[in-house]
């Protein structure tokens, strides 16, 4: 395996850090502190539920915003600013560049999510609740959020290879929203009498990633265990999907004439 993607990934991470992307952690920390103080005042016995729900939702939303808004500019910005010119003249394949950019943003998201996890743990600790074995579900829920972000990032990067950030944002958001409601799309197809609509929803259901399966917030909040089979199924699903999208992104980008 070539070391080139690693070099690009580290630089992408450094760019995110220097562009103060991780400042969002301050907002997250303030929100968690505020929530922890507030639930202490108003709720009796449901602090755990509120804090976990709020924390996991915030981790997902903050991550999603970062994945989309940074992801759609990953390749486009380099083409637009022409920073790619001197880079691609070096002995690096375009596919290695794509993998590097992807890995760099994923690393940024992982670090960001890691810090937010610590923030959530601190908030739970503040509301005076000892950690128990079933809290492992929270970690699994966060792992699922990371898998979801890996998928969203791959889509954002793919669109970034050939369209503007505005369009890429729309496309990625569109896929995400459709993916969250993938099950409803299939159910709608089963209810309809139109064979055309039935086929269309069926194709859409299998084509669009099913983000619904990555949402384990409710289970984590209620301390329910998450089956191991779901963990490996989601992992495999996300890995395969990401691989396919990165292959497509590399194929598109490898044929692209730079302006």
């Amino acid at each position: 395996m070539s070391a080139m993607p690693g070099v690009v990934a580290i630089n992408t991470f450094r760019e995110a850090v220097r562009d103060r992307v991780l400042y969002n952690l301050i907002f997250f920390a303030l929100m968690m502190i505020g929530a922890a103080v507030m639930v202490g005042q108003i709720s009796i016995g449901i602090e755990r539920l509120v804090i976990i729900n709020l924390g996991l939702s915030a981790i997902a939303i903050f991550g999603l915003v970062m994945a989309i808004f940074i992801g759609v500019g990953l390749v486009y910005k380099e083409m637009e600013k022409r920073t790619l010119y001197s880079l691609l003249a070096k002995p690096i394949r375009r596919s290695e560049f794509i993998v590097g950019k992807y890995a760099g943003l994923l690393l940024t998201l992982a670090v960001n999510t890691g810090f937010m996890t610590l923030g959530l743990a601190a908030a739970l600790f503040y509301v005076g609740r000892p950690f128990v074995r079933s809290d492992a579900s929270i970690l699994v829920a966060i792992y699922f959020i990371l898998l979801e972000l890996a998928l969203v990032t791959a889509f954002a990067l793919f669109f970034s290879c050939f369209s503007s950030p505005m369009l890429s944002t729309l496309f990625t958001l569109g896929i995400y929203v459709t993916g969250v409601f993938a099950k409803d799309v299939r159910d709608f197809g089963e209810l309809t009498r139109s064979p055309l609509l039935k086929s269309l929803t069926s194709v859409l259901y299998y084509l669009i990633p099913n983000f619904h399966n990555f949402n384990a917030t409710a289970a984590a909040a209620h301390g329910e265990p998450i089956p191991f089979s779901l963990i490996w199924q989601n992992t495999l699903y996300a890995l395969l999907y990401v691989l396919l999208i990165l292959l497509a992104a590399s194929a598109v980008f490898s044929r692209r004439n730079l302006k």
Binding site: M4, T83, L84, S86
Partner: protein, 319 residues
Amino acid sequence: MSTPAIEILGLTKDYPVGFWHQRMRRSLDNLTLRVEEGEVFGFLGPNGAGKTTTLKLLTGLIFPTSGTARVRGRSIDDVQMHREIGYLPEQPYFYDYLTARELLDYYARFSDYGAAERRERVERFLERVGLASAGNVQLRKFSKGMLQRAGIAQAILHDPPVVFLDEPMSGLDPIGRREVRDIILELKRQGRTVFFSTHILSDAEMLCDRVAVLVGGKLQGVGAPSEIVSIEVHAMEILFEVRDGRALPPGLATRATRIGGRNRMEVPEAELYGTLDQLRGCDARILSIAPVRPTLEDYFIQLVGREQTVAHAVEGMKR
């Protein structure tokens, strides 16, 4: 026959134009060229001539519509070819959140150097392009000239045998231009091949073993500057002063141009002695007499023509 440093065979590039990309515009038309190892080769042409297109094709940033090229025997499609080249893009732009030192270190990581050698190279090349004192300054604070220097450093950092420079003197002050000229000459002394595009013809004339002139995507001529430009004397230039209170005869006055208290006149070689007699007659002081030879610029202007230059530039902008 030895392998040439650069071999271009019928390279053609069409760009789609129009909203639906239904039309094609030819930017480079069947370019065939051979550059030998160790040559400094100048690529000249007006705006929109296809110079940058050629360099982008050679560095793999865009793909040819037809034709091919090889660098030191390796096809431009081969990623290993990139180990043989260094490239300075036109008006380079780099990651502005990095310092110059970090930028060079980043690019050095694409060559297989150990950490110690990478550090040594980065320092050496920062020094070489005059950026040693600005090594820890973020590139967003760099002037255009400093960016150009950083660009040159990253292009030659890994000692490539073939160096492509797109308008390397652009944006540089006279001292910077002189330094770039020195770098190009040093690369030549080291036996490297330098292929550069420029608008500054005096630089090309001074530095290049051979030049090629490209107009409208078509190659117009290749050769040594002295071969391309006829060495025949066009005229003689006389520089003279007229003593206080003396006037030039009307025949001379209309032909002379006054520059800073001195007069300059160009006369055909056959008329030189007659003109000198006339000047002596009005007590003029002859400062110098020199032959006027056509420059590369004269050749270029004659070849391209002003109208054509503008027309190509306009087309280039439309693209």
